[in-house]
């Protein structure tokens, strides 16, 4: 780490950024997405996952092209430079709503999963509240703490997925993949629809993280994220292959949490059985990272929209909004399916691809670039805190504004 990393708590490495990207993808999509895709693409769902890789890569290229032009600014900040103050504020509001709804959806996924599988008698609001408490604490600690947590979780997630796949290898039934491309390539293409919004469209969060990557490490960022995209595709293809191969199309498309049910099939000589709790633990870890990132980006984008110097005062209030929202966002399972597999994709594609692409086109046409320093909340907050030991309140803030902590 650089010498100031511990002081300003605002630098992450390109590797940490890539791991956050992978964990975000694994978050809810690894457990829920294969079900939806298998329902559409049937035994060819693994091909759909393979096709999603290049799309993910292209979307990432849009974000990286924007990051090249505005390396120290977040999406919300360079939007103002590209389309003017008021138009930018209006668009920022749509992003705030997007991250707010996304946070509520992720929290709802957690309570649905825990309520159905691990804690069936515990009230949903209680699960949500306890989870939200930890999330608020994590977001208040800052991006560097999140990134380090991500590093630990990434290792364990990879390890557990690897162990589960190895343990299920002998149960693969290749007949479940037949007939291959029975209805042509159209069915796997149709299966792409839910993936476009969930999780590819949601990857727009990464544009808020780019300016926090350590400057000396930014050359590696492109390479790390490309590798992350390949790994996300590999995980998705492998999980879908095993789901179809072990459970078959019918069972996989009926199960609400297919990967969790997949782990129930592990039985090695009656010794290694009931290891699905490992999946639950890993999934809770990855979805925790996804929720933490969503709430972090929500707080940061709102603070940038309102022109605040620090995002932290908004974190707890947003917890108060996200919690009841997660309880009412789906009325029932039918509403959940229509919303998450149909409507959400359109909204997510608009926020995740269309708007960033338009911004990139505008930036290219107007030949806009900006290498100026962004208004990093973390730097300013830490500067306030470090100077605040000796100075009184107002004085502290004015000094901090003049001399932001070095990055």
């Amino acid at each position: 780490m650089s010498k100031n990393a511990g002081i300003n708590n605002a630098e992450i490495t390109s590797g940490q950024c890539a791991k956050l990207y992978i964990l975000f993808a694994l978050g809810s999509s690894a457990l829920i997405l294969p079900t939806v895709v298998i329902e559409i693409a049937k035994q060819d769902a693994w091909l759909t996952m393979l096709l999603a890789g290049p799309i993910n890569y292209l979307v990432l290229m849009i974000y990286l092209a924007l990051a090249d032009r505005f390396p120290n600014l977040s999406l919300v900040q360079y939007m103002e430079k590209l389309i003017g103050k008021w138009a930018a504020k209006a668009l920022m509001l749509t992003y705030v709503l997007f991250f707010l709804v996304n946070s509520a959806l992720v929290l709802r996924n957690i309570s649905d999963f825990l309520g159905l599988s691990v804690l069936p008698i515990t009230p949903t609001w209680f699960i949500d509240a306890i989870f939200m408490l930890v999330v608020i604490y994590g977001v208040c600690l800052g991006i560097e703490t999140m990134a380090r947590t991500g590093e630990i979780l990434y290792f364990w997630s990879t390890f557990v997925i690897f162990i589960i796949l190895i343990a299920l290898l002998y149960q693969l039934d290749y007949k479940n993949f037949e007939p291959l491309l029975y209805n042509g390539i159209l069915r796997p293409i149709k299966g792409l629809y839910p993936i476009l919004g969930f999780p590819i469209g949601e990857f727009v969060f990464i544009t808020m993280i780019f300016p926090l990557v350590r400057k000396t490490d930014r050359k590696k960022l492109r390479k790390s994220l490309k590798l992350a995209t390949v790994m996300i595709t590999a995980y998705s293809v492998l999980l879908t292959l095993f789901l179809i191969g072990v459970m078959g199309v019918d069972e996989s498309s009926r199960s609400p949490f297919a990967v969790y049910d997949l782990a129930k099939n592990i039985n090695i000589e009656e010794i290694l059985v009931r290891v699905e709790i490992l999946v639950a633990m890993i999934w809770i870890g990855t979805i925790f990272m996804k929720l933490v990132l969503c709430v972090y980006v929500l707080s940061v984008s709102t603070a940038q929209l309102l022109g605040l110097s620090n995002y932290r005062p908004l974190v707890v209030p947003f917890g108060f909004v996200v919690l009841p929202l997660s309880l009412i966002i789906y009325r029932n399972i039918a509403h959940a399916r229509v919303f998450s597999a149909g409507v959400w994709t359109v909204y997510s594609v608009f926020q995740g691809y269309v708007l960033p692409l338009l911004l990139l086109i505008i930036a290219v046409i107007m030949k806009k670039r900006d290498n100026s320093e962004g208004n990093s909340f973390e730097n300013r907050y830490q500067a306030n805190e470090s100077i605040g030991d000796n100075k009184s309140g107002d004085e502290t803030d004015s000094i901090a504004t003049k001399e932001p902590a070095p990055t």
């Binding site: 709804v101 309102l306 005062p313 209030p317 108060f320 994709t345 359109v346 107002d394 004015s398």
Partner: protein, 83 residues
Amino acid sequence: MLASILIVLLAMVVGILIWKHNGTKRRFRERKWAIFILLIGTVYMVGQALRFPLPNPADWIMAVCSPISNPIISWIKEGSVQK
């Protein structure tokens, strides 16, 4: 009813903490917006506890996006029965 009273009490405690923690003039803006968002959240929570019909952002998104998503969903469902 008890739940809503407890929620209001909790929100008041959080509000006081935010108010005190952002007591400087320069942080007045942060304090103002944090309290505003907290107020919205508290109203939502109390409304949820009292089972009032609350505005759901999912409905707004559905109203805007369903004219585009419905034809796509119908196209996807065409011939989706396993043969």
